[in-house]
């Protein structure tokens, strides 16, 4: 190998979370066990090698049996998954094929196992059914278990990081994200993902830069490489030259100074020049993020996503566990409100143990409230836990994916049932607990007046509302440009919900990404939103924007906006009216020549 210094390279991806970090890359690959050595056996070693493979399988079987034994009885679905994994171990296509390969090709067990996986992958990748193709994950899971036993190493995964690094991965699953020693991660770089992906949410709440959707970052970057991540630009620079490093070090300083400047004022209320107060809250997913929301001046938690406790494991959480978790968030925030959204498992966050079949079109499938109403046993456990936590502070209960009055009535009925149970057991809860509906399905926005009769507040989830309203999957590159948050239809739906809320005396909040963009703050204020909730990182900028606005002016601008007929025209109008007052661009020093592939 020559000792030449590798040339600087720029890789362009999708901005996942703003910020700049410079550091060593740490490559984590779910299939990092793929680096398998091949060696040919002497005839006499074959039987021994088969035995070694069978031993590794037996060990995996025992591990799974232990997991099954440890699982509580009531989580039947989970046990089924483990049983399925156990069955996979002995499946002919898996077990039989590997043994045959060892015997016929006279190769080591690791290599034989790898060819088995490759073969199964080829077969499954041809299957047109998404659900079945996704079962490949189960095969990979079982494969990794056996491979680990064969190679005799520990899981060389994400939980082993022990120095400050930039994580480079094909994708980061919710389960993996929950294992990360967050203080060691400076930034994320992934092959997969987009602005609404899980990695992006995590990175933004942790306030670390992320560049996603690079497609082949894991092939180009090696552990130990020096890289620069420019989250806002969606750029990753590999092997930076001296002048590039200098430029980014300066940019990083300027960016951090800017953040600090707006953060300093963030603990004061967000009040307009004419005295209208708006609550600016944080969206969180992990207990740990409460601190980020408070540090950034959050007036409360506007959206506590509760999926994590269900997803980062393969056993359903108990009521006690959920209760302890919710209670902690509520206590830390007290007296500030915490809006707890009930379980919203969906297509890209499917918990194998809970949702066996996400259907061909998960976004339109059995998710969120639909799933919970179909599984009242699981739902009641969560409702009881939330109710119990409400005794320790200010809790609001939020139901996701409401599409009609029936669902809301049923959900409230189950909540009442949970409350009665607690009464019987003499357990305390907040009897004045406010209940709200997420408005993220167009039908809910259209019948907001009817839904209003059954709730204390609305929270508009813009990411889904836009997706469903415009029929656009933002993660699909072919149509991503049609995902326009300022589309007149979206604006009309939001305006309708705002008008109904005022009319019916229902509190109005927004918890989608749209709330986080200070450019949207003027018309949201004008429409009369009481609360905006966002990634904690965005709180200071939005609070800053509110302080620079006059609510009565904003109300007039809403009327102008409603007359524009394209998203572009609306954006232009906002920029023309407020562009100067809302500094968007983060100042940067003069750019050096950072060219892709420049030597």
């Amino acid at each position: 190998m020559s000792e030449d210094i590798a040339p600087q390279k720029m890789l362009m991806g999708i901005p996942g979370s703003p910020g700049i970090c410079i550091g060593k890359a740490y490559l984590v690959d779910r299939e990092n066990l793929d680096v398998v050595e091949k060696y040919v056996l002497d005839g006499g070693q074959v039987a021994e090698e088969v035995t070694r493979f069978k031993k590794a399988v037996k060990q995996a079987e025992d591990e799974l049996a232990r997991l099954i034994k440890r699982s509580p009885k009531e989580v039947g679905q989970h046990i089924y998954i483990l049983e399925a994994h156990k069955a996979l171990l002995k499946d002919k296509m898996f077990f039989g094929h590997t043994v045959d390969t060892i015997k016929k090709a006279k190769v080591n067990a690791e290599w034989a196992l790898k060819t088995t996986l490759d073969r199964i992958r080829r077969v499954f990748n041809r299957v047109e059914d998404d659900y079945i193709r996704a079962r490949l994950d189960d095969v990979v899971y079982v494969y990794n278990r056996v491979m680990r036993n064969l190679v005799g190493t520990q899981d060389s995964g994400i939980d082993k990081i022990d120095k400050r690094v930039i994580l480079v991965a094909h994708d980061v699953s919710p389960a993996e994200a929950s294992q990360i020693q967050l203080e060691w991660v400076k930034g994320f770089v992934t092959d997969m993902g987009g602005p609404t992906s899980h990695t992006s949410i995590i990175a933004r709440t942790l306030q670390i830069p992320a560049v996603l959707g690079l497609e082949n970052a894991t092939k180009k970057i090696r552990t130990g490489d020096l890289i620069i991540v420019d989250g806002a630009a969606g750029a990753v620079i590999l092997n930076p030259e001296e002048k590039t490093l200098l430029y980014y070090e300066q940019t990083q300083e300027i960016y951090e100074a800017y953040q600090a400047r707006i953060a300093r004022k963030s603990h004061f209320p967000a009040k307009t020049s004419d005295g209208v107060l708006i609550h600016v809250n944080g969206n969180i997913e992990l207990l740990e993020e409460v601190v980020a929301a408070l540090d950034r001046g959050g007036d409360g938690i506007g959206l506590y996503r509760t999926e994590f406790l269900y997803l980062n494991r393969r056993i359903l959480p108990t009521e006690e566990e959920l209760f302890e978790n919710y209670k902690e968030v509520v206590e830390v925030m007290n007296p500030r409100p915490v809006t707890i959204r009930t379980l919203d498992v969906n297509g890209d966050k499917v918990a194998a143990g809970i949702m066996p079949d996400s259907g061909d079109n998960p976004a339109l499938g059995l998710r969120a409230i639909r799933f919970c109403l179909k599984n009242p046993d699981i739902f009641l456990v969560q409702l009881r836990a939330i109710l119990r936590a409400s005794a320790f502070g200010h809790v609001r209960l939020l139901f996701p994916m409401i599409s009609g009055v029936d669902e809301l009535v049923q959900a409230r009925h189950l909540t009442a049932q949970a409350a009665q149970e607690l009464d019987r057991q003499g357990l305390a809860y907040d009897r004045e607990l406010e209940v709200g509906a997420m408005i993220e399905v167009p039908s809910a926005a259209i019948i907001a007046d009817m839904l209003a009769e059954h709730v204390d507040f609305f929270s508009i989830g813009t990411n889904d509302l836009i997706q469903y309203c415009l029929a656009v999957d933002r993660s699909n590159k072919q149509v991503a440009h049609l995902f326009q948050s300022l589309h007149p239809a979206v604006i009309r739906l939001i305006k309708r919900v705002a008008d109904v809320s005022k009319d019916k005396g229902v509190r109005l909040a927004m918890c989608g990404e749209m709330a986080a963009d200070p450019l949207n703050t003027p018309f949201l204020l004008g429409m009369g939103f009481d609360e905006l909730s966002m990634n904690p990182q965005a709180i200071p900028a939005v609070k800053n924007a509110v302080r620079g606005l006059c609510a009565s002016d904003c109300r007039n601008v809403v009327n102008d906006i409603m007359r524009e007929d394209t998203a572009q025209a609306i954006a232009r109008l906002i920029l023309e009216t407020y562009g100067d007052a809302l500094p968007m661009e983060i100042p940067r020093p003069d750019s050096p020549s950072v060219k892709a592939g420049a030597a």
């Binding site: 399925a84 996979l88 499946d91 898996f94 079945i132 189960d138 066996p356």
Partner: protein, 97 residues
């Protein structure tokens, strides 16, 4: 028995998938578990593909949805009763409701 009888196949029966989920993980596992008790080979044919009924993975790779027509074949005549039970299992929709 039909005239369409490639070498070695002794028994075969046609069956239509009636359950909503089709031959997904759970149902495929049920079929494989049953087929593993057979004395001889058991195959499932769908259109131009043939898979080993003793392998849940192989069965799943058919992605046989509701309404798919399968031909289940047994090589050993002693597996006739077993073949019938597999057919019955499929016809009853794997006990799904």
């Amino acid at each position: 028995m039909t005239e369409n009888n490639p070498a070695g196949i002794r028994l075969e029966k046609e069956v239509v998938i009636v359950n909503e989920l089709g031959l997904h993980a759970r149902s495929a596992a049920q079929v494989a578990k049953m087929a593993q008790k057979a004395r001889g080979a058991i195959f499932i044919r769908m259109k131009d593909r043939q898979v080993d009924a003793k392998s849940m993975l192989d069965i799943m790779s058919l992605a046989a949805g509701k309404g798919s027509v399968l031909l289940i074949c047994a090589k050993d005549p002693r597996d006739e009763a077993l073949l019938n039970s597999i057919v019955a299992l499929v016809e009853q929709g794997f006990g799904e409701d």
